[in-house]
Symmetry: C2
Subunit: 439 residues, 2 copies
């Protein structure tokens, strides 16, 4: 039987999980891959600790039991890159540093396949990496980079090839979903819910990428690339995090039978791509509303086969590692035949302000009769139909005003708000919050 | 660019959908498959009608506009089988007749790949067909045979290769799910709900395979083959349909916060496979409880990556056709490298009576004090813990007794019932209904 020799760079949560699975079910993998998957080398700064944590033989580690300095680790990585014995490199260093970037490029330039969970690197600096792979007909497995265990990459690349993807929406970040779930089920404030997420191990010490939508944005960039063949950047993506979601927002959501979720959304309309990461009020009739805690879910709407949902674990050691191991088997099986670098089309990214959604608009007003009439009139003037005006919340001199529109654009809403501001300068007592409603 | 020449046998709902998609997005398919997908021939008894219905050129049809007799159609099929120009045959004749069986075998024996949605044929007579493909290293695409548009076959074969499947449960029949949904949401009786399903086009004129679990059983056989490499027969599978579900059952389900669904279930325990199709009381905490109407869903529990759900359309013309077209692209891309015939292990099918589930037991008793005590004592004697005794329904002389157990075997329950029958011959006034509870 042929052998596929692999090296694993980094033996932390994910890399260690990969080594563990490959060791555990090596015979099964050989039957499936029709090749023996052989771990040739692991590079890790603290081999002793990693070997114990994941039950791995020290022999696999570069330098055996010896702790490595970063310089030593880099020397071993260079050796792996220049080795002719290694067929495939698993990169689990993470991050978008020059070091990670150059390592990935050099792996490919040296003729080796690359498997990685590094969403930040592929999303922000991936074009050159995909190009390097494409030029040499080498493969990049990155199933683990989007929603951990959920096989959305292969589903798009291999199972929906007989279809046209119309739109993708999803809960692509587990931490923020956990926080939103806690806020909604236990009525915790954002800060408390975040603290709980950290205590439960869902959120990093620095959770900013999870809660500001950055991590979800990375994943959406990769999905847009796969589904629509378009390379977009973080700067071009309209991203809002969950930091400013309040208990009032949740109450308003309940009133319209919806749950607030951090949603990644992309849709192709007449060749234009809309793409955004935003907290949205997901109607309970949409399955995504029912996806709670740290679970991830992707909804794909296809021209021919309609709506699909994929639900599963978006993170975790063995969960993410499973996707990496499956990518290794896939590359072992199909190698150069895999069409992994998507066909890139010209960029045609639409301004999300022109995208049609129903919206919930909330802001504070004075507790003054006539306010509702003036605001709804201003909104009507912009050709926006109103679905409901919710129960306003009064507290002393202030009232919190909330209104759900029928489908319209953000542009229309902004015009209405501009007019209210111009005609009645004192009417809006807070910056309006405008959240899309997802059916 | 290379060409993949295909023939389509049968141009009804599914075959016509396949021809339509291939015609509509031929350029996209060529980019994805790296081959031009070329429909060479379609065999259909009534070409004129099919051409109009699916907007296809009459030139594609064998005999052009001329209606074919079955004998003529068979002659054309033989021509296709002996043609050296055809690379792949799409079989959408359906059914497990000798004709369909022999056609599939001959397609493979003549060196052509086969793509089919024919679950009955593959489940009941598939072993020889898979063997014929395996011997010649030809491929059988059958994504469309299990849950229409849901890509469960490729997910198991290509995306979960780095894992071990522990169990699969699912709603694999849309018609029965539609009926159960109507019964539960509108409180319709079974007969009325079935009638509605027929009116809405969900159920065939003869809906027996949908409601007696046969269709779901076919799909489960294919999943057991893929997930566990075991060939089982319909006779070996424990199948119960939904025909006997009553409004009382639904009320008892509501009491324990569950919904009744026709569930396909398979699990591997210590090398033994359990497999059954049964109405189960699915707890609302399980996502499957939320899958309504004709939607299908599959829940896969993996050793490393945990629980996954795939949800989508289980039937329909373009939905099923999409899976067939994706299979064609997959075969065009990877051809002989596809590991489609699963590794078959020795049969080790467990008696479902030994399988541990919590159960709901319901039956009629006389309206006699002491009954609850006697029954619960008899159950306790078999080492079964009781979770709840529901509110009994009294009607005149009779009471409907219902009891939810903690996990136990059907064997234990049957022993308890035997004892009740022996000790108190008049106590049970109806055959006990014993439904698993799925968490």
């Amino acid at each position: 039987m042929e052998t596929l020799n692999i090296a694993i760079l980094g033996c932390g949560t994910v890399g260690g999980g990969v080594a563990r699975i490959i060791t555990d079910i090596n015979n099964d993998l050989a039957l499936r891959a029709k090749k023996k998957i052989n771990i040739k080398k692991i590079v890790e700064l603290d081999p002793q600790n990693a070997a114990e944590r994941f039950g791995l033989p020290l022999d696999l580690f570069c330098g055996k039991s010896k702790k490595l300095t970063p310089a030593e680790a880099q020397k071993y990585i260079r050796e792996i890159i220049s080795s002719e014995e290694i067929d495939l490199v698993v990169e689990t260093i993470g991050g978008k540093s020059d070091f990670a970037y150059n390592t990935c490029l050099e792996v490919l330039n040296s003729g080796k396949h690359l498997v990685t969970a590094n969403k930040a690197l592929l999303a922000e600096r991936g074009n050159a990496i995909f190009e390097a792979a494409g030029t040499r007909n080498l493969k990049i497995g990155f199933e683990a980079a989007v929603c951990g265990a959920i096989p959305i990459i292969k589903t798009i690349n291999e199972s929906f090839t007989g279809d046209k993807i119309l739109s993708i929406s999803g809960i692509l970040n587990g931490t923020s979903n956990y926080i939103m779930t806690q806020m909604q089920s236990k009525r915790l404030g954002f800060v408390e819910a975040l603290k709980l997420a950290q205590e439960q191990g869902y959120a990093e010490a620095d959770p900013s990428l999870d809660i500001n939508g950055g991590d979800a944005g990375h994943k959406l960039i990769l999905l847009v690339k796969l589904a629509f063949g378009m390379n977009i950047t973080m700067e071009e993506l309209s991203i809002t995090g969950i930091e400013n979601i309040t208990m009032e927002d949740i109450d308003f959501a309940n009133e319209i039978d919806a749950r607030i979720k951090l949603i990644c959304y992309t849709k192709k309309i007449n060749g234009e791509i809309f793409a955004t990461v935003k907290p949205m009020l997901v109607k309970n009739s949409n399955f995504l509303a029912k996806v709670d805690d740290a679970t991830n879910a992707v909804r794909v709407n296809n021209k021919y086969s309609g709506v699909h949902f994929l639900v599963g674990k978006g993170a975790g050691s063995s969960e993410t590692a499973m996707s990496i191991v499956s990518d290794i088997v896939f590359i072992a099986r199909y190698g150069e035949k895999i069409a992994c670098a998507p066909v890139v089309t010209e960029k045609n990214l639409a301004d999300v302000r022109r995208f049609v959604f129903p919206y919930l608009i909330t802001f504070n007003t004075g507790n003054i009769p006539g306010t509702t009439g003036f605001i709804t009139t201003a909104i009507g003037k912009q050709d926006i139909n109103i679905e409901t005006v919710s129960h306003n919340r009064y507290s002393g001199e202030k009232a919190m005003f909330s209104l759900a529109t029928m489908p319209c654009t953000l542009e229309q809403i902004e015009k209405a708000i501009d007019e209210i501001r111009k005609e009645k300068p004192g009417m809006l007592l807070s910056e309006p919050k405008i959240l899309p409603i997802l059916y």
